[in-house]
């Protein structure tokens, strides 16, 4: 402490603390949900490094492209052709991922919570993600009527088990590849994307596939857009290969959604609540007007007084940021449990980023400095 007097009263600071906490909560609720959405989406095709995705360059979403299913079939690498398709189950919108179980399990690790894993001979069965099973009250042995969205199809599937993966797949149904192809309304020779895992890079894969990277569009897409051999029923420049994370990030960037833009958006929320913080600060100063005048009359300079108030309020600001964070995490968990926190039928993971906390604390500190400067003067 710079001044030895204890002139700031707890009860009076409480109002400022509440406003700071709730403004921080608003910021954290916005930032954590937006960043959770960003993280969930960018890790949608795998969190591990070294997963490369062969995809349709022209697709505007990761669910709508089509590539030949046999791409890379002759390569000695782990490959998982997949069809990701939106559908309706028990009047809810969900996503179904059609996979070849044996290949899929070499890339993704899933834990069976109950029932059995999907086998290659299970033609009309599926396993359901833990979150989805909880939300729609699905159990092993149930029969599901899955209705198509992109195609005029319906499918009846037996639930073979419930799995958890700590990934967005926990909100999905995993079924055999052909089920995905039925619901997508596509031929058996096409899939949405192919995931590849191994000690290879994109250019090596495209080279092995016999696809030469083409010029022009390649630079525009910042990926490898190949010229497809004439044997494939696709035009040149329609297939690309990228790391899973980079691919999903590029889809987000097409719509202007970057990590930075989402952080700026969240900060705008805090900026808009800054006047409330300023009002709260002004209130605290007004409530301590008499004490401040007494301290000024005994010789304390304005600068010393400002520094003293700042030092005394600093722990309160830190505590308010922390309280705001805890309240936001609690609120988001409650919202998620109630089923209100969903984007495209997936629940974004809520994880605390120290950078977000730091951003909030610095912002609060800056606001306090600005308010202090104006009010004490």
């Amino acid at each position: 402490m710079i001044l030895g007097f204890r002139y700031l009263r707890f009860k009076r600071i409480l109002a400022l603390f509440i406003v700071l906490s709730l403004s921080s909560m608003l910021f954290f609720t916005t930032a954590l949900s937006l960043m959770g959405f960003y993280r969930g989406f960018t890790y949608y095709l795998g969190e591990e490094k070294g997963v490369i995705v062969i995809y349709d360059i022209k697709s505007r979403t990761p669910f709508t492209g089509l590539v030949p299913a046999n791409l890379g079939d002759n390569l000695n690498i782990t490959r998982s052709p997949e069809v990701i398709v939106p559908c309706i189950l028990r009047n809810e919108s969900v996503f179904l991922r059609g996979v070849i179980p044996q290949n899929f399990l070499r890339i993704d690790r899933i834990k069976m919570e109950e029932g059995e894993i999907l086998g290659n001979d299970d033609l009309n069965s599926a396993i359901v993600g833990k979150n989805l099973a909880e939300r729609l009250h699905i159990r092993t042995g149930d029969k599901l009527l899955v209705l198509g969205v992109l195609a005029d199809r319906y499918v009846e599937l037996d639930v073979k088990g419930i799995f958890s993966s700590s990934s967005p797949m926990d909100d999905e149904i995993i079924a055999p590849l052909h089920v995905g192809q039925w619901l997508r309304g596509t031929d058996y020779s096409y899939v949405t994307l192919i995931r590849i895992k191994g000690e290879v890079n994109q250019s090596k894969i495209l080279e092995e596939l016999g696809i030469k990277p083409s010029e022009g569009k390649e630079k525009e897409e910042k990926g490898l857009s190949p010229s497809v051999p004439s044997s494939l029923p696709l035009k040149a420049g329609e297939i690309g290969a990228k790391e899973a994370y980079d691919l999903m990030r590029s889809y987000m960037e097409r719509y202007g959604l970057t990590r930075e833009s989402l952080l700026v958006l969240s900060s705008t929320v805090l900026l808009l609540s800054s006047i409330s913080i300023a009002v709260a600060f002004r209130t605290v100063v007004a409530q301590h007007r008499d004490e401040i005048e007494v301290i000024r009359s005994v010789g304390a300079s304005r600068r010393l007084l400002k520094a003293d108030i700042l030092v005394k309020l600093l722990p309160w600001a830190a505590a308010a940021s922390l309280t705001g964070l805890l309240l936001a995490v609690l609120t988001l968990n409650l919202i998620q449990r109630a089923g209100f926190l969903q984007v495209l039928s997936h629940s974004p993971p809520i994880s605390v980023d120290p950078l977000i906390f730091l951003l909030n604390f610095l912002f609060v500190l800056l606001l306090m400095l600005a308010s202090l400067r104006g009010d004490i003067n």
């Binding site: 559908c87 009309n124 209100f340």
Partner: protein
Amino acid sequence: MSLGYKMLLRKRGTGLSILAISLLVAIPASMSSVVNYINSQVEILGGLVIPSKTYIIMSKNSTPSESRVNISIEKLRAVSNKIFPQKIIQANLTGFKVRVRGISNMSFLTGIKGRTAENIDEADVGKILAKTLNISIGENITLSAKKALTVRVVGIIESKTQLDAEIVVPLETAWELSGDRSISLILIEDPKDDKIRSILPDNLELVQAQCIRDFVQQTNLQTLSFLNAWSIAVYAAVSAASYTIATRLITESSYELTMLSALGAKKRLIFSLILCYTTTVALIGSILGISLGVAGAQIASTLLRWAKNTGISPFLDPLQAFQILLLTLFSSVLGCIYPALKPSGRCL
């Protein structure tokens, strides 16, 4: 009362208080307007896809193999002439569990290599099932459900539907295997939708195979639900702001409030004055905030259009504006009650 009210409104901090509330209200207003635009675009895109008219009639809250349909086919003929009653059962085929589908009119099957089954001793096998179990045309297979039956495979189906993983037989064969003559579902194509629902009994439902509209509505609803839940944090902040506004007002107007009580103003009057002041600030603040939020979102979208040539047109429904207004007033009143009660007690 009106003199006291005017006196409080003329206080120096009123403008700042209105600004504080309006900036907070601008947050949900701008977010809602952007979400409204996105949802409307999704709905337009969803509307561009014309879903084909394939429907199934089945028991309510059931699945095709568990469903039992009991309705006169003749009644249905009035709404469509493409009606295909089906029976779905589980059967065993050399230790492998298979789905057997009995269809009344096998002629509607397309993409068959070979021919369609014509009598009780014949069957068609889906391409995927045939590949998994190594079944080929001309082979005899024994299916066992309640009864066992040996049938000859006369065709391999490739329809790109679930039929490709099933054994498809005439309806009579499915009835023979299951031992009962019930119908699991009725597939209808191009029905006169408005009529068909009226002739269905209560225990049956009409399900459209392609549900693009439902999907769009569901995803839009998810966004709106989250937005509404997230707004709780905004209104909590409005409540806290209102608390500090009332506290500041009382601190800065302590002289005036003490004078009013000395002149005989009762506890209730001072409470009402503070409440009226906060409500007025909240009302002006929310009207300003709604305008600011929508205008801000529109300015941002215009800038986006200039910079990236991909603009959006945010808008707010009158009902949403009214909802924001009401919630702001409610949370403001809630926030000011405690400080408003305190001075009225202290002054008198």
